[in-house]
Protein backbone atom coordinates (compact mmCIF):
# COMPACT_ATOMS: atom_id res chain seq x y z
CA UNK A 1 0.00 0.00 0.00
CA UNK A 2 1.39 3.33 -1.05
CA UNK A 3 1.74 5.62 1.92
CA UNK A 4 2.28 8.72 -0.22
CA UNK A 5 0.51 9.20 -3.53
CA UNK A 6 1.18 11.81 -6.16
CA UNK A 7 -0.82 13.00 -9.14
CA UNK A 8 -0.64 13.55 -11.95
CA UNK A 9 2.17 11.27 -13.02
CA UNK A 10 3.15 13.86 -15.61
CA UNK A 11 2.11 17.43 -16.24
CA UNK A 12 2.72 19.85 -19.09
CA UNK A 13 2.17 23.59 -18.79
CA UNK A 14 3.14 26.63 -20.81
CA UNK A 15 5.59 29.21 -19.57
CA UNK A 16 3.83 31.67 -17.26
CA UNK A 17 1.06 29.25 -16.22
CA UNK A 18 0.57 27.84 -12.75
CA UNK A 19 1.46 24.19 -12.31
CA UNK A 20 -0.38 22.30 -9.57
CA UNK A 21 1.10 19.07 -8.25
CA UNK A 22 -0.93 16.98 -5.85
CA UNK A 23 0.03 14.71 -3.00
CA UNK A 24 -1.95 12.69 -0.47
CA UNK A 25 -0.92 10.47 2.38
CA UNK A 26 -2.31 7.67 4.50
CA UNK A 27 -0.65 7.93 7.87
CA UNK A 28 -1.96 10.74 10.06
CA UNK A 29 1.17 10.58 12.20
CA UNK A 30 3.30 12.02 9.40
CA UNK A 31 4.45 15.39 10.67
CA UNK A 32 6.86 16.78 8.12
CA UNK A 33 6.36 17.05 4.36
CA UNK A 34 9.31 18.03 2.17
CA UNK A 35 9.14 18.35 -1.59
CA UNK A 36 12.20 17.39 -3.56
CA UNK A 37 12.91 18.14 -7.19
CA UNK A 38 15.20 16.24 -9.45
CA UNK A 39 16.63 17.34 -12.78
CA UNK A 40 17.81 14.73 -15.28
CA UNK A 41 21.11 13.15 -14.28
CA UNK A 42 21.20 15.12 -11.01
CA UNK A 43 20.50 14.38 -7.37
CA UNK A 44 17.09 14.99 -5.75
CA UNK A 45 17.28 18.30 -3.90
CA UNK A 46 15.07 19.79 -1.21
CA UNK A 47 12.80 22.45 -2.68
CA UNK A 48 10.36 23.42 0.07
CA UNK A 49 8.81 21.77 3.13
CA UNK A 50 5.87 22.20 5.51
CA UNK A 51 4.77 21.01 8.94
CA UNK A 52 1.08 20.38 9.78
CA UNK A 53 0.95 23.37 12.14
CA UNK A 54 0.75 25.47 8.99
CA UNK A 55 -1.67 25.19 6.09
CA UNK A 56 0.48 27.18 3.72
CA UNK A 57 4.18 27.64 3.06
CA UNK A 58 5.46 30.02 0.44
CA UNK A 59 8.91 30.44 -1.05
CA UNK A 60 9.04 32.68 -4.08
CA UNK A 61 7.03 31.11 -6.88
CA UNK A 62 6.58 27.85 -4.93
CA UNK A 63 3.72 27.40 -2.47
CA UNK A 64 2.56 24.36 -0.53
CA UNK A 65 -1.09 24.21 0.45
CA UNK A 66 -1.82 21.71 3.21
CA UNK A 67 -5.15 20.19 4.27
CA UNK A 68 -4.61 18.11 7.38
CA UNK A 69 -8.22 16.96 7.66
CA UNK A 70 -8.20 15.50 4.17
CA UNK A 71 -4.53 14.42 4.37
CA UNK A 72 -3.77 16.22 1.16
CA UNK A 73 -1.25 18.77 0.05
CA UNK A 74 -0.38 20.45 -3.20
CA UNK A 75 2.57 22.28 -4.63
CA UNK A 76 1.72 25.34 -6.74
CA UNK A 77 4.34 26.75 -9.06
CA UNK A 78 3.28 30.16 -10.30
CA UNK A 79 4.69 31.80 -13.43
CA UNK A 80 6.21 28.47 -14.46
CA UNK A 81 9.54 28.65 -16.28
CA UNK A 82 11.19 26.13 -18.62
CA UNK A 83 13.90 25.78 -15.99
CA UNK A 84 11.28 24.35 -13.61
CA UNK A 85 11.01 21.25 -15.79
CA UNK A 86 11.94 18.39 -13.47
CA UNK A 87 10.48 15.51 -11.50
CA UNK A 88 8.92 16.59 -8.21
CA UNK A 89 8.73 14.20 -5.28
CA UNK A 90 6.41 14.64 -2.33
CA UNK A 91 7.76 13.02 0.82
CA UNK A 92 6.61 12.55 4.39
CA UNK A 93 8.13 11.48 7.64
CA UNK A 94 6.82 10.31 10.98
CA UNK A 95 10.03 8.88 12.28
CA UNK A 96 12.94 11.23 12.18
CA UNK A 97 15.35 10.08 9.53
CA UNK A 98 13.02 7.99 7.36
CA UNK A 99 11.50 9.72 4.37
CA UNK A 100 8.53 8.09 2.64
CA UNK A 101 8.36 9.21 -0.97
CA UNK A 102 5.68 9.36 -3.62
CA UNK A 103 6.42 8.20 -7.15
CA UNK A 104 6.87 11.71 -8.42
CA UNK A 105 5.30 14.06 -10.94
CA UNK A 106 7.23 14.82 -14.07
CA UNK A 107 6.69 18.47 -14.97
CA UNK A 108 7.42 19.86 -18.41
CA UNK A 109 7.20 23.60 -18.96
CA UNK A 110 7.15 24.72 -22.58
CA UNK A 111 8.30 28.16 -23.68
Amino acid sequence: QQQVRQSPQSLTVWEGETAILNCSYEDSTFDYFPWYWQFPRESPALLIAIRPVSNKKEDGRFTIFFNKREKKLSLHITDSQPGDSATYFCAATQVVGQLTFGRGTRLQVYA
Binding site: F89, G97, G102
Partner: protein, 115 residues
Amino acid sequence: GPKVLQIPSHQIIDMGQMVTLNCDPVSNHLYFYWYKQILGQQMEFLVNFYNGKVMEKSKLFKDQFSVERPDGSYFTLKIQPTALEDSAVYFCASSPDWGGAGEQYFGPGTRLTVL
Protein backbone atom coordinates in the same frame (compact mmCIF):
# COMPACT_ATOMS: atom_id res chain seq x y z
CA GLY B 1 25.48 23.72 -2.20
CA PRO B 2 26.68 20.67 -0.28
CA LYS B 3 27.17 17.62 -2.48
CA VAL B 4 26.97 13.93 -1.86
CA LEU B 5 28.98 11.81 -4.26
CA GLN B 6 28.32 8.21 -5.20
CA ILE B 7 30.69 5.76 -6.83
CA PRO B 8 30.20 4.09 -9.25
CA SER B 9 27.35 5.63 -11.21
CA HIS B 10 26.57 2.28 -12.82
CA GLN B 11 27.41 -1.27 -11.83
CA ILE B 12 26.57 -4.48 -13.64
CA ILE B 13 27.19 -7.78 -11.88
CA ASP B 14 26.13 -11.39 -12.04
CA MET B 15 23.62 -12.76 -9.57
CA GLY B 16 25.33 -14.20 -6.50
CA GLN B 17 28.29 -11.87 -6.64
CA MET B 18 29.09 -9.30 -4.00
CA VAL B 19 28.78 -5.59 -4.70
CA THR B 20 29.80 -2.54 -2.70
CA LEU B 21 28.22 0.82 -3.36
CA ASN B 22 30.20 3.81 -2.16
CA CYS B 23 28.95 7.13 -0.85
CA ASP B 24 30.99 10.20 -0.01
CA PRO B 25 28.68 12.24 2.23
CA VAL B 26 28.82 15.96 2.95
CA SER B 27 31.91 16.49 5.09
CA ASN B 28 30.35 17.73 8.33
CA HIS B 29 27.27 15.53 8.24
CA LEU B 30 26.76 12.89 10.88
CA TYR B 31 23.73 10.92 9.67
CA PHE B 32 23.71 8.73 6.61
CA TYR B 33 20.97 6.98 4.68
CA TRP B 34 20.38 4.57 1.82
CA TYR B 35 17.26 4.51 -0.33
CA LYS B 36 16.32 2.11 -3.12
CA GLN B 37 14.34 3.02 -6.23
CA ILE B 38 13.10 0.39 -8.64
CA LEU B 39 12.38 1.73 -12.11
CA GLY B 40 9.04 3.52 -12.22
CA GLN B 41 8.48 3.32 -8.50
CA GLN B 42 9.13 5.57 -5.54
CA MET B 43 12.34 5.83 -3.57
CA GLU B 44 12.10 3.60 -0.51
CA PHE B 45 14.01 3.89 2.73
CA LEU B 46 16.49 1.13 3.46
CA VAL B 47 18.58 2.16 6.44
CA ASN B 48 20.03 5.04 8.41
CA PHE B 49 23.34 5.13 10.22
CA TYR B 50 24.91 7.23 12.95
CA ASN B 51 28.03 7.00 15.05
CA GLY B 52 29.03 3.71 13.54
CA LYS B 53 25.68 2.04 14.07
CA VAL B 54 22.50 1.24 12.19
CA MET B 55 19.74 3.30 13.79
CA GLU B 56 16.74 2.09 11.82
CA LYS B 57 16.18 -0.25 8.91
CA SER B 58 13.20 -1.19 6.80
CA LYS B 59 11.97 -4.60 5.75
CA LEU B 60 13.75 -4.02 2.43
CA PHE B 61 17.09 -4.15 4.24
CA LYS B 62 17.63 -7.87 3.87
CA ASP B 63 20.15 -9.96 5.77
CA GLN B 64 22.36 -9.87 2.67
CA PHE B 65 22.74 -6.09 3.10
CA SER B 66 25.24 -4.40 5.36
CA VAL B 67 26.45 -0.84 5.85
CA GLU B 68 29.54 0.68 7.38
CA ARG B 69 31.72 3.76 7.39
CA PRO B 70 35.18 2.68 8.47
CA ASP B 71 37.34 5.52 9.85
CA GLY B 72 35.32 8.32 8.30
CA SER B 73 35.86 7.13 4.78
CA TYR B 74 33.11 6.17 2.36
CA PHE B 75 29.72 5.18 3.70
CA THR B 76 29.15 1.85 1.99
CA LEU B 77 26.27 -0.46 1.19
CA LYS B 78 27.35 -4.02 0.60
CA ILE B 79 25.11 -6.68 -0.86
CA GLN B 80 26.35 -10.26 -0.56
CA PRO B 81 25.12 -12.26 -2.36
CA THR B 82 23.15 -10.23 -4.86
CA ALA B 83 19.79 -11.31 -6.26
CA LEU B 84 17.91 -10.28 -9.40
CA GLU B 85 15.46 -8.19 -7.36
CA ASP B 86 18.34 -6.05 -6.10
CA SER B 87 18.47 -4.33 -9.48
CA ALA B 88 17.57 -0.72 -8.78
CA VAL B 89 19.01 2.74 -8.32
CA TYR B 90 20.46 3.19 -4.86
CA PHE B 91 20.54 6.69 -3.44
CA CYS B 92 22.75 7.74 -0.59
CA ALA B 93 21.85 10.75 1.57
CA SER B 94 23.35 12.57 4.51
CA SER B 95 22.11 15.14 6.98
CA PRO B 96 23.83 17.34 9.54
CA ASP B 97 21.61 16.38 12.43
CA TRP B 98 18.73 14.17 13.48
CA GLY B 99 16.24 16.96 13.76
CA GLY B 100 16.48 17.94 10.11
CA ALA B 101 14.64 14.91 8.85
CA GLY B 102 13.65 16.68 5.69
CA GLU B 103 17.03 18.23 5.09
CA GLN B 104 18.65 15.20 3.66
CA TYR B 105 21.13 15.83 0.88
CA PHE B 106 21.04 13.18 -1.81
CA GLY B 107 23.67 11.80 -4.12
CA PRO B 108 23.01 11.16 -7.82
CA GLY B 109 22.47 7.45 -7.29
CA THR B 110 24.18 4.24 -8.35
CA ARG B 111 22.31 2.18 -10.92
CA LEU B 112 22.82 -1.48 -10.07
CA THR B 113 21.97 -4.15 -12.60
CA VAL B 114 22.06 -7.77 -11.47
CA LEU B 115 22.07 -10.27 -14.33
